[in-house]
């Protein structure tokens, strides 16, 4: 007698209770609810706009703006169209953001490193700085800086003079080099310097990997860039004409100027974000295991090499993602400039919103500007995050 081979029960590849089906069901429910809500909001808006005869659309962007902008990097005339006004706003936002990011990185790194100082006073000061600045809302800090600039500096007519620099409620006025074609050579020199420095670094790295000889990877490139820049400037005839400000009847005229609005935004954002950057740097450095630094010393690496070759590369892995976040925060916080009259993109959009009444469009534009910046950074961060994450099966 033979037992018939038992066949496994027929595999049911589908069931009402299967996980796959439930998953599908949940998703359909989610899509229906979210889609329904979105559709409902959209029809409401469209209906409201239709009933009240609110004009909509982005066609207003090509209309002349009709208002002036207090400070702008490029010339803006009130007859220019709205889209140009928006661009000026974006450029003002980026100006504050980029300068702020540079300054806050420097200041924050100094303070973060300062918390490891051997000097107790420096350590204490750095900690006090961090605690004080990160525990007070940034809006309040901006308002306070602006108050200090406008309330306690001398009037424009009694501007304080330090050399050729004037300080007053109108801001800082300083001598500005007059742009000549000679400067173009200087810029070209700088660019050439960057290229040469890049090749130098590549060469130095390959040499290091082949022979173990260590060459400076930082100071020499900096010197190359600087030297070529100066060389270009000399070739261009060393133009050194300055527009020197002078006191006029009601104001300091001529030269370059930084308005108190700009300075308050820049200072407030920098000081606030620096406290966070300092914490990021501190935790980054302290995350590197102690043994690493001991091992580097045992190998006979100098203090500088230890920092450059061993500690920093490991600390940076921890530092960069939160640092990028801080830079993003700084950029987004620059929207608070609207509270103190700096014409950033939010301020310009608000003006446009009021002149045209296109509320939805203008707010959408604000969001688009910030979203683009943020998403670009976010993509980079996710890529980096995936790269640096600890690999699992």
């Amino acid at each position: 007698m033979s037992v018939a081979p038992r066949t496994p029960p027929a595999k049911r590849d589908w069931s009402w209770r299967s996980q796959a089906f439930r998953g599908l069901l949940y998703q359909i429910i989610a899509v229906v609810i979210i889609g329904g809500v979105a559709w409902w909001l959209a029809t409401n808006t469209a209906e409201n706009m239709r009933v009240r005869g609110i004009k909509s659309g982005f066609d207003f962007l090509t209309q002349p703006a009709g208002f002036d902008i207090g400070e702008s990097l490029s010339k803006f005339d009130s007859n220019d169209p709205y889209w140009k006004a928006f661009l000026i706003g974006v450029s003002n936002t980026l100006r504050v953001a980029i300068l702020g990011i540079i300054l806050t990185t420097i200041l924050g790194t100094l303070i973060g490193v300062g918390r490891f100082s051997r000097n107790g006073l420096v350590r204490g000061l750095c900690q006090a700085y961090v605690e004080l600045f990160r525990n007070v809302p940034v809006l309040l800090q901006l308002l306070m800086w602006y108050l200090l600039f406008t309330e306690f500096l001398p009037d424009v007519t009694e501007a304080k003079r330090i050399g050729d620099i004037y300080l007053s409620k109108g801001g800082i006025t300083f001598p500005k080099p007059i742009w000549e074609t000679g400067h173009l050579f200087g810029v070209a020199g700088l660019l050439a310097g960057c290229v040469v420095a890049w090749f130098y670094r590549r060469w130095a790295r390959s040499k290091f990997e082949a022979t173990g000889q260590v060459r400076s990877m930082f100071w020499v490139p900096v010197a190359i860039v600087f030297a070529l820049g100066v060389l270009g400037w000399l070739v261009g005839g060393a133009p050194s004409q300055f527009a020197v400000p002078a006191k006029g009847e009601f104001a300091v005229e001529g030269g370059g100027a930084l308005t108190p609005e700009f300075m308050a935004v820049l200072l407030g954002l920098t000081l606030y974000t620096a406290a966070f950057v300092a914490e990021v740097v501190r935790s980054g450095i302290s995350s590197v295991a102690r043994g690493q630094s001991e091992a580097a010393q045992a190998l006979g690496l100098s203090k500088g090499q230890e920092m450059q070759q061993v500690l920093l590369p490991q600390a940076l892995r921890v530092i960069i993602p939160p640092m990028t976040n801080q830079f993003l925060n700084l950029t987004k916080n620059s929207s608070l400039a609207v509270a103190i009259g700096y014409p950033d993109v939010v301020s310009i959009s608000n003006t446009a919103l009021n002149q045209t009444g296109r509320a939805v469009e203008c707010i959408a534009l604000i969001m688009l500007v910030y979203l683009t910046t943020s998403l670009l950074t976010s993509f980079f961060m996710n890529w980096y995050n995936a790269k640096s994450a600890i690999k699992e099966r």
């Binding site: 006073l121 809302p137 916080n333 608070l336 998403l375």
Partner: protein, 368 residues
């Protein structure tokens, strides 16, 4: 003949260098080498120069008389009179003057509740009930309209109670949303994952004030005609949704750090998805990201100051309300700012200290 060994005492070794106490600390930390000494001298000199000046301004020559003329007198430093004169307007905003005991009691209740929730002793089931009771009491006290309290519309609410209410409610409300979104972003279901990702990236990509702009004056356009929602609630929803996106990312960080084996072990024990998440994954993941969560709370508390831009008179706004239109006191705005800086600082600093403590509590298991 045996040699006699004569006992010779060795010279006493020098006492070990003292590493405890004030003098060695000073030596090690302030004058360890010439760089350190130089730094100490420069920094110490600056501190010695500026701190007395500041104390002189803020304390010694300051006046607390609520009289603007006294502040304008020669040689008077800080004019704290502006606080003694205006503190009720600054702290309670436009809330009716005779009724201001109500926000006072409500705020005290709320702060007590928060302190209680932060204390281990009270981490019991009934704390939820206490929360519900206190929140109800808060709104009854603030809004009135029952128990013989006169009704006070939300547009009169302001100052510290508003700040605390916005912060507390948005913290509490954003947490469950954040957990769902964080789980959703790691879900296997593509549609849900996509929605959660879009939500998080969209919100994190824009500044809070644009969300507040939408909430405060565009949102009604999205509603059918005739439906109006109180601006306070709209702003609260805006802040909550904003905070939830950030919180979701922090929680997702914790989820990501969980070893896969935990979920697999739970699955092999036959736990369902939700059981796995709530009994195994989330408790560990949340414990891992406590500092991040607390940082978010602190950030949220500070961010409530932004509602000033959409004309709600929380602490920052009520200061402007109190001082901007009063010519006598406007010059002493700096003192006013310092006053609310102190309030914000007290709250945020307390939270950050608490965050350190709770971090230690959570990590106790790892320190065995």
């Amino acid at each position: 003949m045996a040699e006699t060994i004569i006992f010779q005492s060795l010279p006493a070794r020098p006492a070990p260098v003292n590493t405890e106490g004030l003098v060695p600390w000073v030596k090690n930390n302030l004058f360890a080498n010439w760089q350190s000494t130089l730094t100490t001298l420069i920094v110490g000199g600056l501190l010695l120069f500026y701190i007395p000046q500041f104390i002189n301004w803020a304390v010694l020559t300051a006046t607390t008389v609520p009289n603007a003329d006294a502040c304008r007198a020669e040689g008077v430093g800080a004019c704290w009179g502006v606080i003694t004169e205006k503190y009720r307007l600054i702290i309670f905003g436009r809330y009716p003057f005779e009724e201001q005991w109500r926000p006072l009691v409500a705020t005290i209740l709320m702060v007590a509740l928060l302190v209680m929730s932060c204390t281990r002793m009270f981490w019991k089931k009934w704390l939820v009930a206490v929360w519900i009771v206190v929140l109800a009491a808060f709104f009854i006290l603030m809004y009135g309209g029952m128990f013989g309290l006169t009704e006070v519309q939300t547009d009169r609410w302001g100052g510290l109670p508003l700040t605390i209410m916005l912060a507390t409610l948005s913290i509490v409300l954003c947490f469950p949303i954040a957990i769902c979104v964080a789980l959703g972003r790691r879900s296997n279901l593509p549609a849900i994952r996509t929605f959660c990702t879009i939500y998080v990236e969209l919100i994190r990509g824009v500044p809070l004030i644009s969300v507040l702009f939408m909430a405060s004056f565009m949102f009604p356009l999205f509603m059918p005609a005739g439906v109006t929602i109180d601006v306070l609630i709209r702003v609260l929803v805006g802040v909550t949704l904003f905070a939830a996106a950030y919180m979701a990312e922090v929680i997702r960080g914790g989820l990501q750090a969980m070893p896969k084996g935990q979920a697999e072990a739970a699955a092999s024990l036959g736990l369902s998805y939700w059981q796995t998440q709530f009994k195994i994954i989330l408790p560990q993941a949340l414990a891992m990201v406590v500092p991040g969560i607390m940082n978010n709370f602190i950030g949220l508390f500070k961010d409530t100051s932004l509602v000033y831009i959409v004309s709600l008179y929380e602490l920052t706004g009520s200061l402007g309300l109190a001082l901007n239109s009063d010519a006598d006191w406007r010059p002493y705005k700096l003192e006013g700012y310092l006053f609310i800086v102190a309030i914000y600082f007290a709250f945020c600093f307390a939270m950050s200290r608490y965050s350190l403590w709770i971090e230690k509590q959570v990590n106790k298991s790892k320190l065995r």
